[in-house]
Amino acid sequence: MRWMLLKDLQILRRSKLLVGLLIVYPVAIALLIGFALSSGPDKPRLAYFDQIPAGETTIKLGGDELDVRAYTDGLFDAVDRIDVDSRAQALEAVRSGEALAGLIIPPDFVRKLSNGGLSSAEVEVVYNGDALKQSFVRSTVTSNLARADAALARQISTVASGYIDIVGEGGKINVLGLQFDLLGLRESKTLLDSAIEQSDSPSLTRKLVPVRDFAALGVSNIDRFKDVLNTVERPVRVSETVLEGRRTPLDTFAVALAVTVSLMFVCVLLASGLLALEREENTFSRLARGLVPGGRLLAGKVVLAAGCAFVVTLVMLLGISAFVPLDYGRAALWIVALAVSAVAFGTLGVAIGSLAREVRAASLLALMLALPLAFLALVPSGGVSPLLYDVIRVISAAFPFKPSLDAIDAAVNDASPNLALSLAHLAALTVVFGAAARFGLRRFA
């Protein structure tokens, strides 16, 4: 096997273009994926269930009316809104992938908002736990909620500080359609000052002085009261519901994805190409005459392809860690996940190579298989119908991409499902594709 490995390395050294491509390609893919994920879709769809009774959409603050539609409509600037008729429908829309998130406004929203204080109003946001989209939707929804919230808070405090001004400086006030003139604290203080001056009854003066002091305190602190109002920024509380799945932050999930894609391409293309080369050059028949047993020939290709891919992707991970903070304490797990995944992909590669007569056919076959597998593994739980999703899950489980992605995600990000399970899955696939490759070799000569 040593001589065969050395020989394959010599061949690779003379195939600079191929090797260059095999290194540049994964890096390009990694960048593309990173870019695609970080920009995200323009307008996510949002399932919207509004339980506020019709005609009860306004909050009365004294004589002023505030329409909460101004609040809720602000949410829909950046999303496509799908109206649903129940909370269950909203949950279903999220689970099925029709909507990326759900927003549920309870019937008592307006009442609680008008009461203010302790019974603060609340909206419910439902996310799908899928890491790929969760992070984007979450940030979209929360930033919109925060914007709408701030706008509402500003309106409330504008109204309220108007009242405070009237309390301080005096003015007209509207109560139940009737106009009143309000005296105001400043004017009250002035009146009290002169009353105290002119009073000759000591007992009346004693009673008026604390009232005058109170008015003086109020006047001099009006601006501070208004400041306090402005700090009440979030009148609406958001309760979050996450439907199934783990919570890997998007950028570190993208790292796992980019690494897995690169690992797959380097491994599968190298292993399938190196094996198909033995057939294209007719050397396989020479080797098969007892010079190199079939199993050892396959193992050599897997070792070489996996070794190259391992080095490329480990370097890639270290390079990425300069931009995305990764936990170096888990580096031992990265190595295990990368190595086991590389061997599984290499074995898939030799299985492909054993089917093809030429390197070009092998590469084409490898690409045609690898690309859809990567896409299938990324189909989100609710993106397609449940039956189709089950089919996709079975297909994904039959090839190493999905378990590798899980293993690498688990190793890098501590995401579920756990690493050991994915590694066992990969080991089983290695055995299966190893057997398939051995079978393919029998009709290779």
């Binding site: 001589w3 065969m4 020989k7 010599q10 061949i11 003379r14 195939s15 080369l277 050059e281 007719n282 050397t283 028949s285 020479r286 080797l287 098969a288 005459r289 007892g290 010079l291 190199v292 000569a445």
Partner: protein
């Protein structure tokens, strides 16, 4: 025929070998022997089953039935030079030879490679990449790889196809020298003149069947038209037997 070929055990004994590819019977119950130092030509039209037969003898294709036996106690592998070159295009001449010398487990790989380069006249091409050589030179390396282990039996599948006359001459000189040292050589060709010139004995294969096993003179005598030219004798021999 060398005298010792009669007295010693055959270098290779082929007994009732058959091979079928689906509906096609490519080799049909073929039996013959070859003695040490004997040079045996297998002739037959294209598609007769020559390559299939040699591949079975070389141990690349499993036969459906029959046996291929070397004398008891033989450990050396049968040497094989396939019809299509089977060497690495991205390696140099010397790298190819060294790789296969090591895989064959020859005693002194470097010395063997040097000897092979010298004998095939490729020494000055040792550092050239195979893929950049002419077809003739590639075939010379292909043949050299089959000779590395100095096998007791050597199978050559249309060895001179890609060679020019000078290279061909050199090849046959080389092969004759091998037989003189006791190597049994079986080569197949559809070039009748070559078979007549170099083959001590001729096997005629048609549609997978072994129709004739004897000398060129015997083949001429066997054709009913009594042709004096072996090529014509061969054609009429086949025609007489419905091929």
């Amino acid at each position: 025929m060398p005298v010792d070929a009669v007295t010693t055990a055959p270098a290779l004994t082929v007994q009732g070998v058959s091979k079928r590819f689906g509906e096609l019977q490519a080799v049909r119950d073929v039996s013959f022997e070859v003695a040490a130092g004997e040079l045996l030509a297998v002739i037959g039209p294209n598609g007769a089953g020559k390559t299939t037969l040699l591949s079975i003898l070389a141990g690349i294709l499993p036969a459906d039935g029959g046996s291929v036996a070397q004398p008891e106690g033989t450990t050396e592998r049968i040497g094989w030079v396939p019809q299509q070159t089977a060497i690495y295009g991205k390696l140099t001449v010397a790298q190819n030879l060294r790789l296969f010398a090591k895989l064959e487990g020859v005693a002194d790989p470097d010395a063997t490679v040097a000897r092979m380069l010298d004998q095939t006249g490729l020494a000055e091409r040792a550092g050239d990449e195979l893929g950049k050589l002419s077809g003739g030179n590639r075939q010379r390396v292909n043949i050299a790889v089959g000779l590395l282990a100095d096998p007791p039996v050597l199978l050559l599948d249309e060895p001179s196809g890609a060679l020019d006359p000078r290279q061909r001459e050199r090849l046959w000189g080389f092969i004759t020298a091998l037989t003189e040292r006791g190597t049994a050589v079986i080569f197949c060709t559809h070039d009748i003149a070559e078979a007549e010139r170099h083959g001590q004995r001729i096997l005629v294969l048609a549609d997978g069947e072994l129709l004739f096993n004897g000398t060129a003179a015997e083949l001429k005598a066997a054709s009913q038209a009594g042709e004096r030219d072996l090529e014509q004798a061969f054609v009429s021999f086949l025609r007489d037997r419905g091929h």
